[in-house]
């Protein structure tokens, strides 16, 4: 009896293989690889280094924000303001540099803006118990409007003395890899590490799993929620800075609709809007799948109006898969 109890307790029900098969991100990776293989055979333009360079770079802006959004979604929250925050931070950066300040001052101002916006969202959600949907919907409107006020709704394309540095930051490449891709990989590794190996990461999952239980057992739920909305806004701010450098111009409509795209990426990558589930890798692969779809429609000569249909179907199929695995 003692031996069998011992054995039961020691038994591992899951090996790495069954865990892999159970991971939505794994299946999305497979789907994406299949799509890539199909596209390389059916079109000449897909597997060219120029196209792949473009895809990887385009993925980054969605993916960087999707990392932050995934963290919010893991806690059971939502952040609809990221597209507008991206715009606001880009504009703060652009206007600061246009006024003659250096790139570091500009970036510091943009990052600070992001953190303030995130803290505002977080405090309303965590301490005043506002629903995150409503708070961040309000911020979606406020942040873009502030960007318009700041720039008087003009396009900023002259970034003062450090103009070239900013363009190199976002548009350049290192060892043949686009700079934004490098930032994305570093941020993804960092996010993955935090989620898996730190107490902060563990608490995000706990809050999303059972907020009441987390509170009762002494997890500092409110502080963590404020932090996670700050991280989300920061991810949008970083994406904004990089994108500004890449585009070389900021208009007040950049990042419009971005919030839905990053939520889609997170959900396709396995994050559950009910909270408690999600990974950094999932955020990347979800973003990548969306970009591959977008890219391939163009290459296959399919009308761009179909894009929404394909991406929307992906979301629904991903969730359907998830449900099937659960009920099995």
């Amino acid at each position: 009896m003692a031996a069998s109890l011992e054995q039961t307790i020691e038994q591992k029900q899951h090996n790495w293989f069954s865990l892999l098969l159970n991971s939505q991100a794994f299946w999305v990776t497979i789907a994406m690889l299949l799509a890539c293989i199909f596209l390389s055979y059916s079109t000449d333009a897909f597997a060219t280094s120029k196209n792949l360079y473009n895809i990887t770079r385009n993925v980054t802006f969605t993916a960087i924000i999707a990392l932050g959004t995934t963290m919010v979604i893991i806690t059971g929250g939502i952040d609809l303001s990221v597209g507008s925050v991206l715009c606001l931070c880009s504009m703060v950066l652009a206007v600061t540099m246009h006024a003659g300040f250096g790139i570091y001052t500009g970036i510091a101002a943009a990052v600070l803006t992001a953190l303030v916006v995130g803290a505002f969202n977080g405090i309303l959600v965590a301490y005043l118990d506002f629903p995150p949907f409503v708070v961040t919907l309000g911020m979606l409107s406020v942040a873009r409007s502030l960007a318009m006020v700041l720039s008087n709704n003009t396009v900023v394309f002259e970034f003062g003395p450090d103009h070239d540095k900013l363009l190199a930051l976002g548009g350049g490449s290192t060892f043949g890899i686009a700079n934004p891709v490098i930032y994305m990989v570093v941020l993804a590794l960092l996010t993955g590490f935090v989620l898996r190996w730190t107490r902060f990461g563990r608490y995000l999952y706990a809050i999303g799993g059972n907020e009441q239980a987390a509170t009762l057992t002494g997890v500092p739920v409110r502080r963590i929620k404020v932090a996670v909305y700050m991280i989300s806004a920061l991810s949008a701010g970083i994406a904004g800075i990089v994108q500004t450098g890449w585009l070389g111009a900021v208009t007040t409509n950049i990042g419009a609709g971005m919030e839905l795209q990053v939520i889609a990426a997170a959900v396709i990558g396995g994050a559950n809007l009910a909270g408690g589930v999600g990974t950094a890798y999932g955020a990347l692969v979800g973003s990548a799948l969306i970009e591959v779809i977008r890219n391939s429609l163009g290459l296959l000569g399919i009308n761009a109006f179909w894009q929404g249909t394909f991406i929307g179907s992906c979301i629904i199929i991903a969730v359907a898969f998830d449900r099937m695995r659960r009920t099995r």
Partner: protein, 246 residues
């Protein structure tokens, strides 16, 4: 000297008066059954003792010294452990993660400290073995039976050397055999000099382990008697209000 002493504790939630002028003392190694109707204030009382919120009025002493517990962590530091009603577990986390929730084991990795998965799995496995529960530390709570969840919630209280263990309906929704295990565990705690507060609606459970019974009715303490000087009939009367006070 009592391990825990409450003097004139009251707790309001807005207009609701959940606890009203409650005083009590619990000695080391004493098992106290806390009974009362739904909404009588039992959970509110133990949550307050466990540092989940401060009382509106009144004071609390441990080992003779006054304590003010702002957070659950502080209560644990004073040797207070609790099994919450409905267990307070996260379905999406493993058994081990739940056992250690709020006090994760960590180890240094250069300048940062990371979760010590191996250490937590081992320690949780040990605790389940001590509880004679077939619970696997790596399993998700979502996949577990009621008895296994129970074991996880109780294992939490065994992580540190407790002086006082509060159990809020630990025997609701588990099998007869498992109820017996929980009651044995309570006796075992008592034998080590640990005080236990057991909240339960099951009269036989309370009468079989408790030394003393405290009855709450609408936030007031209406009885505080040794079990041998009371009876299930009397306690039932006190709970329902058929007997005013004892």
């Amino acid at each position: 000297m009592p391990v825990l002493e409450l003097s004139s504790i009251s707790k309001h939630f807005g207009a609701i008066q959940a606890l009203n002028d409650i005083s009590l003392a619990i000695e080391p190694g004493e098992v106290v059954g806390l009974m009362g109707d739904n909404g009588a204030g039992k959970s509110t009382l133990v949550k307050m003792i466990a540092g989940n919120f401060l009382p509106t009025h009144g004071s609390m002493r441990m080992d003779g010294r006054e304590v003010v517990l702002h957070r659950p962590v502080e209560a644990r530091r004073h040797g207070i452990e609790i099994v919450h009603q409905d267990l307070a577990l996260c379905n999406n986390l493993t058994a081990a993660a739940n056992v250690f929730l709020g006090r994760e084991m960590r180890k240094g990795l250069g300048p940062v400290s990371i979760l010590d998965y191996g250490g937590m799995y081992r320690r949780a496995g040990q605790l389940f073995r001590d509880l004679k529960s077939e619970t696997r530390p790596r399993d998700l709570i979502r996949q577990m039976s009621g008895g296994q969840r129970q074991a996880v919630a109780i294992a939490r209280t065994m992580l540190a050397d407790a002086k006082l263990v509060l159990m809020d309906e630990p025997t609701a929704a588990i099998s007869v055999r498992q109820v017996a295990e929980v009651l044995n565990h309570i006796r075992h705690l008592r034998d080590q000099g640990i005080a236990v507060v057991l909240i339960s609606h099951r009269m036989p459970d309370v009468f079989s382990v408790a030394d003393r019974i405290i009855v709450l009715r609408r936030g007031r303490k209406v009885a505080d008697k040794r079990v041998e000087r009371s009876s299930p009939e009397e306690v039932t009367g006190l709970i329902t209000g058929a007997i005013e006070i004892a």
